[in-house]
């Protein structure tokens, strides 16, 4: 396999709720290669955002990483101190968030915010920083960079703000970009523009992108490989074509089934009954068993392992029934 840009090994993140520690992310491992877009899919509360914050070292005070390694170009980020992390953030890993409007400081002009990020990581003069800011804004397709630099965030539309966020993230040319639901707050036509831009950046700069989303349509369009999370665990990992053509885990099957597909003309959707379990009252055994229509005794008793299911090792799945019948449904 080619060199790995980011490798997360057995990550376990917990946070404190009412004096007890609950596990938000449990034993999560995945890797990203340069120039690859990896999709991290799951519903709200499945731990996908916590995973990304763990990688960035931006977890809230009441949470901790209790186990695992996060290797960026072979360097363990968990062993870095605060100062070291600050150097890495922005320079080597950058992040864009769901709410572009709320992620920008409303009281500062775009220019100030953008040059601040640039000056933090480079020995630029103000002049150089300004030019650089102008350049990156232009590169993310903002029609009048001069005007935009002088504006405040509330004067820009949501799509423009997200472009500015991407420009800010890309200003120091990081090798890894973490995008946490980057288009969820945007309209479809604007979403299409932003997705196109991200694909362009990837192709040009060979940036690895971790795309966190709940939208399977976005995944299908953007990603080359997909990791599906449920209740803090990875339940399936596969190349994007295989995942959509032949989902192995019952949760993935249900998820793909329950999304209405444009132009398919269906009038009714199969749906997954029940709702996501609360982190503090996780079921014993397989976490999906209470909602799974194939669940057997062993599913309720014992939690399955994430195992490779093809020879190349590109597909992994966490299900008991897989080994027995090979394939269900």
């Amino acid at each position: 396999m080619a060199e790995k840009l980011l490798e997360v090994k057995n990550l376990r993140t917990e946070f404190k709720r009412d004096k007890t520690w609950v596990t938000a992310v449990n034993n999560v491992s995945f890797s990203i290669q340069p120039g690859e877009i990896l999709g991290l899919v799951g519903e709200s509360g499945c731990g996908k955002s916590v995973t990304s914050l763990s990688v960035m070292g931006l977890l809230a005070r009441n949470s901790k990483i209790s186990n695992g390694e996060i290797l960026l170009n072979g360097k363990d980020l968990l062993k870095e101190d605060k100062k070291g992390m600050r150097k890495i953030r922005g320079r080597e890993v950058a992040m864009i968030f769901q709410e572009p409007m709320n992620s920008l400081n409303p009281c500062m002009r775009i220019e100030k915010q953008l040059t601040e990020a640039i000056l933090l990581h480079n020995n630029f003069s103000k002049e150089e920083a300004h030019n650089r800011a102008f350049e990156v804004l232009k590169s993310v397709g903002i029609p009048e960079p001069d005007m935009t630099l002088k504006s405040y965030p509330h004067q820009l539309s949501g799509g423009m703000c997200q472009r500015v966020m991407i420009a800010m993230a890309m200003s120091c040319e990081p090798e890894l970009l973490i995008a946490d639901e980057p288009t969820t707050a945007l309209d479809v036509t604007i979403q299409a523009q932003i997705l196109e831009l991200m694909e362009e950046i990837r192709a040009k700069k060979n940036t690895g992108i971790l795309m966190i989303t709940h939208d399977l349509g976005v995944v299908a369009e953007m990603c080359s490989r997909v990791v599906v999370m449920y209740a803090g665990r990875i339940v399936e990992e596969a190349p994007v074509h295989d995942l959509f053509a032949d989902p192995k885990h019952p949760y993935t099957q249900g998820l793909i089934g329950s999304v209405p597909k444009l132009g398919s003309g269906v009038e009714s959707l199969p749906s997954i009954p029940g709702s996501v379990p609360d982190l503090s009252v996780m079921p014993k055994g397989c976490k999906f068993a209470p909602r799974c229509k194939y669940a057997t005794d062993i599913c309720h008793q014992q939690e399955p392992e994430l195992v490779s299911i093809n020879e190349a090792g590109t597909r992994k799945c966490r299900c008991h029934l897989l080994n027995k019948s090979g394939k269900e449904a």
Partner: protein
């Protein structure tokens, strides 16, 4: 065709946006000359991007805000000029399901009181009868009677939306206005709620006005669809017709922009340039001309009139033949 249950004619609504202390007050054209009919038993959807006026349209019909001009006919009665008091008796016929399942339930009331509230207002049922009806409805939407004793914060988003639907059903309305009822929910839960809405439509012979930004969801649930852009309906068509043969350039761009969860499907994408114009300063002529790939001089100056190009398929464009 039968008489429409609801008929909206040339409805307009402008809001005043606060300018600065010294600047001129801006007028936001939220809904600009909207007309459509909804027939009994069907699902009519309004689809469009944020700020296109689809939610305002819903609220105008529900009389939560009053239109500046235009008419709203419900069962052969003009309702847009009724006073709040006169409207109150009609409210049992028109009910609304709201987007935000967290905010639309009063956090200080028990679920059974929430669901029973319309009965308290519109009927003379005793407390016992109300409770019986509430329990029945809880069962209808897939919850158990014991859930009635609880408070909304103890429920998940999908369950809260079920409660909102149960509340709308209590007084046996004829029309339900569903304003983005599933957009705050996770996909697996979204499917549950959509299926429930369809089931209820069959069981209770309901008519829906379904408001959404999600074209895939709209395709699943609707019979007819109106596409809105900057406060006007640019295209109205039966579902199959609209998805198979979209004629307005905006509809085409919108449809092509939706990501489809199928990596093997490659499709041509029409990416629109630029942003949505501000509704306080709408473009002259055709509202879409600033982003339209086929824009001509005529589009910049003249407002297009709606053309019926096929039965029930109405397009507001100067050149509907261009997209054939």
């Amino acid at each position: 065709m039968s008489e429409p249950l609801l008929s909206v004619k040339n409805m307009k609504k402008t809001f005043q946006a606060n300018g600065g202390m010294f600047s001129k007050k801006k007028l936001v054209h939220a809904v600009n000359d909207v007309s459509f009919d909804i027939y009994p038993g069907e699902t009519f959807s309004l689809v469009g991007e944020s700020g296109c006026g689809k939610s305002t349209t819903g609220k105008l019909i529900d009389h939560l805000i009053i239109p500046d001009s235009g008419e709203i006919w419900f069962e052969g009665k003009e309702i847009s000029k009724l006073t709040e008091k006169e409207m109150r008796s009609l409210r049992s016929d028109i009910q609304m399901v709201f987007q935000d399942p967290y905010g639309s339930l009063n956090p200080r009331m028990k679920v059974q009181d929430l669901i029973g509230e319309p009965l308290l207002i519109h009927t003379n049922m005793s407390a016992g009868e109300r409770l019986k009806k509430v329990h029945e409805l809880l069962g209808t939407v897939g919850l158990s009677p014991s859930h009635g004793e609880r408070y909304p914060h103890e429920f998940s988003g999908g369950q809260r939306q079920r409660i909102g639907i149960a509340r709308a059903l209590t007084v046996q309305p004829k029309l339900i206005i569903a304003d983005e009822p599933v957009s705050a929910l996770d996909v697996s839960i979204q499917a549950q709620v959509l299926n429930l809405l369809q089931q209820l439509q069959k069981d209770f012979n309901l008519t829906y006005l379904f408001i959404s930004h999600d074209l895939s969801v709209v395709e699943m649930i609707s019979d007819r669809i109106g596409v809105m852009y900057l406060g006007t309906i640019v295209e109205t068509a039966p579902k199959k017709e609209l998805y198979a043969n979209p004629r307005h350039p905006y509809t085409r761009a919108l449809l092509s922009a939706v990501p489809i969860p199928d990596p093997d499907l490659t499709k041509e994408r029409i990416t629109l340039k630029g942003d949505l114009p501000s509704p306080s300063n709408p473009p002259s002529g055709c509202l879409f001309h600033t982003r339209c790939p086929h824009c001509t001089e005529k589009c910049k100056t003249q407002v297009p009139t709606p053309v019926e190009i096929a039965p029930g398929h109405i397009v507001k464009c100067h050149y509907p033949e261009l997209t054939e």
